[in-house]
Amino acid sequence: MFQFLQNLGKTTRSSFAKLGRASFFLSHTLTGISDVVPRPNLLIKQVYSVGVLSFLIITISGLFVGMVLGLQGFNILSDFGAEESLGVMVAASLVRELGPVVSALLFAGRAGSALTAEIGLMKATEQLSGMEMMAVDPIKRIISPRFLAGFLSMPLLAALFSAIGIMGGHLVGVGMLGVDDGAFWAQMQASIDFQEDIINGVIKSVVFGFVVSWIALFEGYDAIPTSEGVSRATTRTVVNSAFSVLALDFILTALMFGDI
């Protein structure tokens, strides 16, 4: 019993301590961003490794998700003789939910884990300490450009995911299943509101990009500098990112579309 209480206290204390470290880390990273602006080369390199290298998985997944939506939506909607609403269904579910959420999950798996492993290994091989010895702030030099790159790439990736998904839905719905082309687009345009749907989807993906980059970089920076520690940190990045993205998505959806 006594042991149990002691363990509970220890867990609580250490999780709060971690939250505190994460907050300090975040504020340090954010102030470091002002030093990235005069050196865009650092940023471009990171946008390449975070964004461009995620481009292929995002576009291909988007295409398939859109095609599946087209197929499933057609099956259900044709029961009600409402195949023409396929465009609305595909576009609304992609723009509002699937685009930001699925691309954030893929982003966490593709880019987030790589960031954690990279930073964790830098720490394990004492590159970060070496930088500090040379009076270079590793957070400003290493972390901030990566954070900014993740934060900027996420909305672009989510927009690509949604746009390609809608094209995939169009390919299946209009090209293969014979939904009327005009009705597909017209009903979509009549129902999807620019501010209500598209801007809110972009806001979601901005939030997700912020959170996933933060978690990935912090877990790497906070990793125990051994090979096992780095592997655990990478796992935690993917698990915690997925969890935060889905939980935040519910909160954001309730704020944006719900009447709570």
Binding site: G51, A82, I192
Partner: protein
């Protein structure tokens, strides 16, 4: 920094395609492509029942969309529904004795306002009121009446 140029190109391509996707969604997917600016005027109509009409429902003449419903509220005195419509100002020659009715697009589709032009020489202006209105057809009401007639006929 050997790869810098290809990297720059790829990053540029990535950013450009991301922004293109946003534009694509804004123009092709959302209603922004058919956005009506402030270049419009408001007309008002009182309906006994505006049914399932919603803000942003289309207003059309002969099937051509000329504006959108901008507000729906209840008149506290007469308990009628007051529907405000924003008509694009290029359609400024609608006769003032035009009538409006609420129709449904398809059997289960969304409801819209249809304006039937009259023959007056005077035109509708900003804030003018349309007097000739016919209410939305509520399906339940019609079925109710039909059933009643059937029952009485026996």
């Amino acid at each position: 920094m050997q790869h810098s140029k290809t990297q720059d190109t790829l990053v540029g391509f990535f950013v450009a395609s991301g922004i293109a996707a946003l534009f694509y969604m804004a123009l092709q997917v959302s209603n922004l492509g058919s956005y009506t600016g402030d270049d419009s005027y408001t007309v008002i109509a009182h309906f006994q029942n505006s049914g399932g009409l919603k803000v942003k429902s289309p207003v059309s003449v002969a099937g051509v969309r000329i504006g959108r419903v901008s507000a729906i509220r209840l008149d506290k005195e007469s308990h009628e529904s007051i529907v405000e419509m924003r008509i694009e100002s290029q359609y400024n020659n609608l006769p003032s004795d035009s009538g409006v009715s609420i129709y449904t697009a398809g059997l289960l589709g969304e409801q819209y306002v249809s304006l039937d032009p009259g023959s007056s020489d005077e035109y509708l202006k900003d804030k003018s009121t349309i007097d000739i209105t016919s209410s939305a057809i509520v399906l339940e009401e019609m079925i109710g009446k039909f059933m009643l007639n059937k029952a009485e006929g026996k």
